[in-house]
Amino acid sequence: MINRNPETLSELRLVRNVLAISKYYTVSQEFIDEAYDFLKAGSSRHIAGYTSTISFYEGSKVVKSFQVDRPISSIDGIYVSATTLRITPHYTPSSYSGFGGGSSFGSSSGSSWSGSSSNNNNNNNNNH
């Protein structure tokens, strides 16, 4: 839904681009309307969504940033301007990578860096 009345081709394009955000993120009506008005106000503006935030940009400066209600997993990112819609599909790391939840390529030397026993004087362990 959008509470605006697009008339020109570029306004229609802008509506389509803004509505694409709502395909991937749970956003409010106010957000959609605000996004439309924001992008319409200048060609140097864009909105970028990531896994846990959506930010409004003017050039490279973040004007406003929102934490998304729940992190998305269907895509890794979205870039929306008045003329451009770009989607970064979700990349699933291989099960063996450090981020994939598989092996952490751990040490076989017996080092206790996994950090369960000692307390350092200034820094904090148990980072696991």
């Binding site: 063996y96 206790s112 200034n122």
Partner: protein, 596 residues
């Protein structure tokens, strides 16, 4: 059977085995800002006074822990830090320690069943006034981590009382007092240029090992950085960090302290510590007696590392602030060039955000030392470094993460390798051979299976659309270019099921070939430029109004070679099972009404 299930359920409830989403945090508690010493380089500068008389050390801790617990945030470790904790009155110190002891006992099952060890209460101390708390320390088996300067002669210069007296002698006497206690006793030392006399450091480590009750296998080296030392101390270089490590290896390999050398001594630079986690703001907190919460000792009193006040903010607000502030600290500088190609990013995560901000760099200040340690600890280089980089960038530098989108195929041979091996494939995937212009906006066409992101254009009934094709493309892999043609395929965004294999794919709408003879009439510089507005308009009624439609462009001969290659090479077939040609996706405008 039902009875058994009921008993298990009751046990789970009673033992608080995590059925719900608890978050576990490391809580460093500062029960007093007061200190009995006046180390010349103290990072707290003038803050070592206890001015919060209206707060009670125990009450604040209790209040914070209960408030966190009510929000399912569970401290798995509560350690005491200063100021100097031993300046607390005897009874206040005991009350706080007794509370931590009882907290651990009460929550042991919950904490340990989530993978964290429960250790005895732990304090960090300068050891100067510890004798008045020996009863409590013994009673609750408090583990002790002391601070010394090494070499010890440097200790005398910097670690002095508020009256300017040296403290080494008394501290060593106090360590003797601990000898009879079975408690765990250790020390750490921070190394700056001013400490960098390796012969003397070695000598003093041996002295402490042989003449005191300190567990020198659990000694910690810390590497100083240039912050709040009143200009007195100067950080050692990365080469000197390495020299320190090498010298320790040379001196202590094969001795009774070899275990410490390979473990605790340099553990701070390994992946088990806060300095190497994704976002330390999710897990590590420092609480002061007035309820203020900071990141840690390093960030204490720094506004960028202040997360809120437990009396004034909810745990949810504090956790959100902590996550966001650490994100911002990592995010201030772009990813360091070396980190982008480093095979140890999965362990290091670019290091401590606080120090990176002090040094205005985005790389860990102990990078070289860390790499050396990882090698010695047999920590493998990351064979999936491209994925690690992308995932890390997504977290801390999301706006540049697109650049690092991995392109590998994990199951088969990588398509890029196959393209490199077979030059005939090059132009099937070339990103510079075709362009589409829609209403004045130009879109270079790239192979849909090689690009990391989808660009989706919008086309209206009245849109003007041009196709540009590099002239040489009709010569590529073509024995008879005059028989060759630009090959255009239009697919709907709506899917249908195809043929014997029953694959659900985008529906084919149209294929169209434009032969070289026609193209030659539309030359513009290096390009052929063709108005395809009317060609596409014929098919608008058949395109999806809701999903992105797809336009592919190649040549007849390149398309033929693609299918020939598929026949001959199973890896290629699997890698390029979806149409590999250069494409543009586009919405048909008018569908917004449906969405509305």
């Amino acid at each position: 059977m039902e009875q058994i299930l009921m008993i298990i359920l009751i046990m789970i409830i009673l033992m608080e085995i995590p059925m719900n989403n608890y978050r576990f945090i490391h809580l460093l508690y500062v029960p007093t800002m007061a200190c009995n010493m006046a180390c010349k380089y103290c990072y707290l500068e003038d803050n070592t006074k206890d001015e919060w008389n209206s707060y009670d050390a125990l009450e604040t801790l209790q209040y914070a822990v209960e408030k966190f617990r009510a929000s399912k945030v569970i401290p798995f470790n509560i350690s005491l830090h200063g100021g100097e904790v031993t300046t607390l009155a005897k009874e206040d110190f005991e009350k706080v320690i007794a509370y931590i002891d009882s907290y651990y006992k009460e929550n042991e099952m919950l904490i340990e069943s989530n993978g964290f060890n429960v250790a005895p209460p732990h304090i960090k101390t300068n050891l100067y006034d510890i004798e008045k708390h020996l009863d409590t320390i013994q009673k609750y088996n408090v583990s002790i981590s002391g601070s010394l300067d090494l070499p010890l002669e440097v200790h005398d210069i910097y670690r002095v009382t508020k009256g300017g007296k040296t403290t080494r002698e008394k501290i060593l006497q106090n360590i003797q007092l601990l000898e009879e206690l079975p408690n765990h006793k250790k020390v750490s030392a921070t190394i700056f240029q001013e400490h960098f006399d390796l012969d003397k450091i070695v000598e003093d480590i041996k002295y402490l090992d042989q003449n005191t009750c300190l567990d020198m296998n659990d000694f910690n080296f810390m590497i100083g950085f240039d912050y709040n030392s009143n200009g007195l101390l100067h950080p050692i270089t990365e080469e000197e960090q390495l020299a320190l490590y090498e010298r320790m290896k040379q001196e202590f390999t094969g001795t009774n302290l070899e275990e410490g050398l390979h473990n605790a001594w340099f553990a701070e630079f390994g992946p088990g510590y806060c300095t190497n986690c994704n976002n330390c703001g999710d897990k590590f907190f420092l609480l002061e007696k007035n309820g203020d919460i900071y990141s840690c000792v390093r960030g204490q009193k720094h506004k960028d590392f202040y997360y809120g006040n437990i009396y004034q903010n909810t745990p949810e607000e504090i956790l959100e602030a902590s996550h966001q502030k650490i994100y911002e600290a990592h995010h201030k500088m772009p990813l360091h060039e070396e980190c982008k190609t480093c095979k140890y990013l999965y362990l290091c995560k670019t290091g401590c955000p606080f120090v990176k901000n002090v040094y205005h760099t985005s790389q860990s200040y102990t990078c070289k030392l860390q790499k050396e340690l990882y090698k010695d600890w047999n920590l493998r280089e990351d064979p999936f470094a491209d994925e690690t980089l992308y995932e890390y960038a997504k977290m801390m530098h999301p706006e540049e993460s697109e650049k690092y989108y991995p392109t590998r195929n994990h199951e088969y041979r990588d398509l890029r390798e196959l393209i490199e091996e077979d030059p005939k494939l090059k132009y099937i995937y070339d990103p510079n051979s075709y362009e589409i212009e829609i209403d004045g906006e130009t879109y270079p066409l790239e192979s849909q299976i090689l690009k990391g992101e989808r660009t989706i254009a919008s086309v209206g009934e009245e849109s003007k659309i041009w196709l540009r094709v590099k002239k040489h493309i009709l010569e590529e892999e073509s024995p008879y270019p005059n028989n060759n043609a630009v090959y255009i395929m239009l697919l709907s965004g709506d899917c249908i099921q195809y043929g014997d294999e029953k694959r659900v794919k985008q529906a084919h709408i149209m294929t169209h070939q434009i032969y070289k003879g026609v193209l030659d009439q539309h030359k513009k510089g290096d390009w052929y430029e063709i108005d395809i507005t009317n060609l596409l308009r014929e098919y608008y009624p058949s395109l999806s109004k809701e999903n992105p439609n797809n336009l592919f462009v190649t040549t007849t001969d390149l398309r033929d070679y693609h299918y020939q290659k598929q026949k001959n090479n199973a890896y290629y077939h699997m890698d390029a099972i979806n149409l590999p040609f250069q494409n543009i996706e586009f919405y048909m405008l008018g569908g917004e009404k449906n969405d509305q």
